[in-house]
Amino acid sequence: MQDTTAFLAADPAGNIFEVADLDVYYDKFQALKKVTIDIPANEVTAFIGPSGCGKSTLLRCFNRMNDLIEGCRIDGTIRMEGTDIYDRQTDVVKLRTEVGMVFQAPNPFPMSIFDNVAYGLRCQGIRDMKILRRVVEESLKKAALWEEAKDHLHRNALKLSGGQQQRLCIARAIALEPKVILMDEPTSALDPIATAHIEDLIEDLKKQYTIIIVTHSMSQAARISDKTAFFLLGDLVEVGETSEVFHVPRDTRTEDYISGKFG
């Protein structure tokens, strides 16, 4: 690309998100304080920190799910590939197709597996069954669910096990070909085996997608993420390569938290 504007817009450092001086308030309560962080593309970034430190709040800023929360106010900028997503002109609905999200508890819609995966596409007005069928298959394959699900595509998704449901939710997000997948404690409702499967899947997905994951489990952050950001009481205390953060953290608060001591 030789076009200079495109060059300026595209991020030089390969960051998909650039958050600058972000303050988030719930009514009077300030949940995030002057957070500045870059999220590199095609890597797994983990947010860790004690309960209530603002991890989920920041995560929800990336696809503007915070818009749905009464009294939530935002200051500062978040740029996605150079454009401010909190700009007035941003089409939130479109943003959310580009920034997929997976929730703590698996939440498949009470429809068939097929319809679950096709849901996002249908909302985009895609009706052609040929396309739908192709995308559903691809998405399920990427989510490592195809083998288990291909013979029951029209069975109710609620019949799947918890781990399978969570993979279905991932497939559902993938179907829209997002650039980013946000995950808010995606395995905290699952048993260790299902968790391990999801972690493997994340490992696999990061080749194609940027993944941001909130987790309560420090060992999970350690295992699967490339970058780790540690939050405390609304402050971003430290962010860096995961191997650095878990080996030689720069901040003693990080040190104390990840090694299970505190205060």
Binding site: R96, M101, N107, P110, M111
Partner: protein, 313 residues
């Protein structure tokens, strides 16, 4: 060794009290459960009585079930119920057809669409509608719906008996079952997992798309439970309906502006003495009414099971 001063006498007493209390609770449960059986036995018993040979002025069961006239004024009186059943079904379903979509939309509006400041207001409206006793609806219907209907009839070139008509019954019942269906729909829509909704929004669906595609389908079973309840109320409603039905002596009625007669209005009509065929025959109608309700319930359950295309097995 324990250092706590625990008295064995207390423990023994505790055991005895426990057993006694449990027995009392069990008894209450049994009584409550036995009632429905007793109702059936006693009402049906008295209802069948009039068809038994020993009964003075015994009625013919076949004629009762298949005839199209209700003439207690003749002598000998003629009691037959088929046209009443047909009328009842028409009015009840007519009311459901009117009320159901409005109810569901209203519930959706209240839970998901209404601005927060108005939500309480609309909820209260529905709750008040639900709480208004049926006689009050009856008075309202007799005083205003009938006028509306007779005006309408006049516009179409029909005459009515002071507005008492099938249409009035349908409108009245629709109004009466609306809060029933709506409140159940509200509950089931409100209890749809917020995460489902967020899941849909996060997939780039708009709020309204989410409401119609995800929320409603997740609330489906509660909404249908509401429909069943509403139909039950429509079938069983007596006092209010009998204020506007007009109690036609034969039928069935298919003309919206013509008077009609339902099972319940029949049971309430000309209630003077408490003995004799004219009184006992009401028990027979009661049995018919319960059977009609039962069949309808089964029907709707069947429909619900096969709706939506997702097999649950």
């Amino acid at each position: 060794m324990k250092t706590l001063p625990i008295r064995t006498s207390y423990l023994r007493r505790k055991k005895i009290i426990d057993l006694a209390a449990r027995a009392i609770f069990l008894l209450a449960g049994l009584i409550a459960a036995a009632m429905i059986v007793l109702i059936f036995v006693f009402v049906a018993g008295r209802g069948i009585q009039v068809f038994l040979p020993g009964y003075a002025n015994a009625q013919n069961l076949g004629e009762f079930l298949t005839g199209m006239r209700w003439r207690p004024d003749l002598s000998p009186p003629v009691y037959s119920v088929l046209f009443i059943v047909i009328n009842t079904v028409i009015t009840a379903f007519g009311a459901a057809v009117l009320a159901f979509p409005v109810s569901v939309m209203t519930a959706l509006f209240i839970v998901k669409v209404a601005p927060k400041s108005l939500r309480l207001f609309f909820t209260t409206v529905v709750e008040i509608l639900a709480a208004i006793p049926s006689v009050v609806y009856g008075v309202f219907a007799a005083g205003s719906i009938t006028r509306l209907v007779s005006g309408l009839a006049a516009a179409f070139g029909y005459t009515t008996y002071g507005g008492s008509s099938m249409l009035a019954v349908i409108l009245l019942l629709a109004i009466m079952i609306f809060p029933t269906i709506t409140s159940l729909a509200i509950v089931s829509i409100a209890s749809v997992d917020r995460n489902l909704e967020l899941g849909s929004l996060a997939l780039g669906a708009s709020q309204m798309e989410t409401n119609f595609k995800v929320v409603l389908s997740a609330a489906k079973s509660g909404i249908f439970a509401g429909l069943i309840l509403g139909l039950g109320r429509a079938f069983g409603e007596a006092t209010a309906v009998s204020m506007v039905a007009g109690n036609k002596m034969f039928g069935p009625t298919f003309n919206l502006f013509d008077t009609t007669r339902t099972l319940t209005t029949t049971m309430l009509s000309g209630l003077s003495e408490t003995a004799g065929v004219d009184y006992d025959i009401r028990f027979s109608i009661g049995v018919v009414l319960m059977i009609v309700i039962l069949i309808t319930n089964l029907l709707i359950r069947y429909v619900k099971k096969h709706i939506g295309g997702v097999t649950n097995e």
